[in-house]
Subunit: 230 residues, 2 copies
DNA sequence: TAGTGGTCTAGACCACTCA
DNA sequence: GAGTGGTCTAGACCACTAT
């Protein structure tokens, strides 16, 4: 199970940078030199250094060479799991219950967000996600029916709207926003907590090409934490 | 400015997956077949498909082939900028002010977190980060002096503790946790907001190899949102 | 203009794992 | 055992950009 050579080189270079062999902003040897030093093909060095660049450790420019990133900005890769997975990872049973479900005129804020016309109808669904029967998160979602007509007939007996959409429109584009919110009376009741409590809020909007699909707000149980390594 | 071939192939494959040419869990052609189809070397296909695998779009196994990920888990890459950048990106002027600063016996919760001995001293610093003079975030930080002795003499006239540490110990490891918190009286006063208001909280711990360096809590102004594309 | 990274190729051998 | 991805090589040409 010998580690691959490009990985060894990658780690070696990262260690040398951490050890201070090159300071922030310093230029490190070019690929040909490193290939000679590590006794391998330039392609292999390229792969190693390219990986460091993708992680923001170094910055590369043709002719300018490769330099240690002078403004290190660590990036966390956040996995955004489906709620079912998020719950099951804690060893609990996942279930959900649909609260409201109706086709309505979308309010103007949602019409703007989803680029819908003034007369467009949208599907509104409220879902409570449960862990061992206890409320885990509350989801309030708008779906652009024109983009996903099948959803009008989905039963959501087996799959939550969340999962249904993921399976139906996988790998669409989207954006997420994380913030903190105070529970209003309604959300507090659903999450079995006090009004005004601070909860973690995820705001997510999804589209495919130029068709806006859905937007949702997800209010997590107080105490929820989203964790990631750097 | 023709796009590179591996990128074209990557996009083409992703489009074909989105278009439903292969369903979730389906196997896509192997590298040799794709290389023939796209009239290029297998190496080039490999790079394209490898990128898809890194994004979680497909799952690869030797002998098993490459399959469309049946449980698509989108991952957001969150840039975690230095606060100065975060403020300046909004077009405002960044500044900071140091509140408390003292060397103390670390409380037991911090000692546990940083793996410090019972007698270890630690540096405690409170920093308020300002945007155009208005409070933007409040930081409460513990530093393991044994790991970064120089920090005892740092003046923090130019650089905030945050920036000082990034420059002094770049590319260390760490973890981040995002959550929501209610402001207590002290934090509310510093952020010029009401007690009990919901704020976004970042909890971050950093180490180098096996030396624990620092841990901090960062309370953002109410209304702050952390955004990312999927 | 020259140096450096970006990409591509054709071929090779190996490691894993499915049947 | 055999099929597939994982990696590596040696060489080539190109694209960008610092000087």
């Amino acid at each position: 199970m010998s580690t691959s050579s490009h990985l060894k080189i990658r780690r070696s270079l990262q260690d040398r940078i951490q050890a201070g062999e090159w300071a922030l902003g310093d230029r490190i040897p070019d690929e040909v030199a490193l290939a000679h030093e590590y006794s391998c093909a330039r392609t292999t060095v390229n792969r190693a250094v390219r990986a460091l660049a993708e992680d923001g450790i170094v910055i590369r420019r043709r002719k300018g060479g490769t330099r240690v990133n002078p403004t290190p900005t660590r990036q966390a890769k956040l996995r955004i799991p489906i709620l079912r997975q998020q719950v099951e990872e804690t060893g609990k049973d996942y279930s959900f219950s649909i609260g409201k479900r109706s086709v309505r005129d979308a309010p103007s804020s949602i019409r703007r967000k989803l680029h819908l016309g003034a007369t467009a109808k949208a599907l509104y669904i409220e879902t409570t996600h449960l862990a061992d029967g206890e409320p885990f998160a509350f989801e309030s979602r708008w779906v652009n029916i024109a983009a996903v007509p099948d959803i009008a007939e989905a039963s959501f007996n087996e799959l939550s709207p969340n999962e249904w959409l993921v399976q139906s429109v996988p790998f669409s584009n989207g954006s997420v926003e994380f913030s903190a919110a105070s529970t209003d009376r309604k959300v507090a009741r659903i999450l079995c907590t006090e009004e005004g409590e601070a909860v973690f809020l995820v705001d997510r909007t999804t589209w495919r090409d130029h068709d806006f699909i859905t937007t949702m707000k997800l209010f997590y149980q107080p105490g929820f934490r989203l964790r990631s390594d750097l």
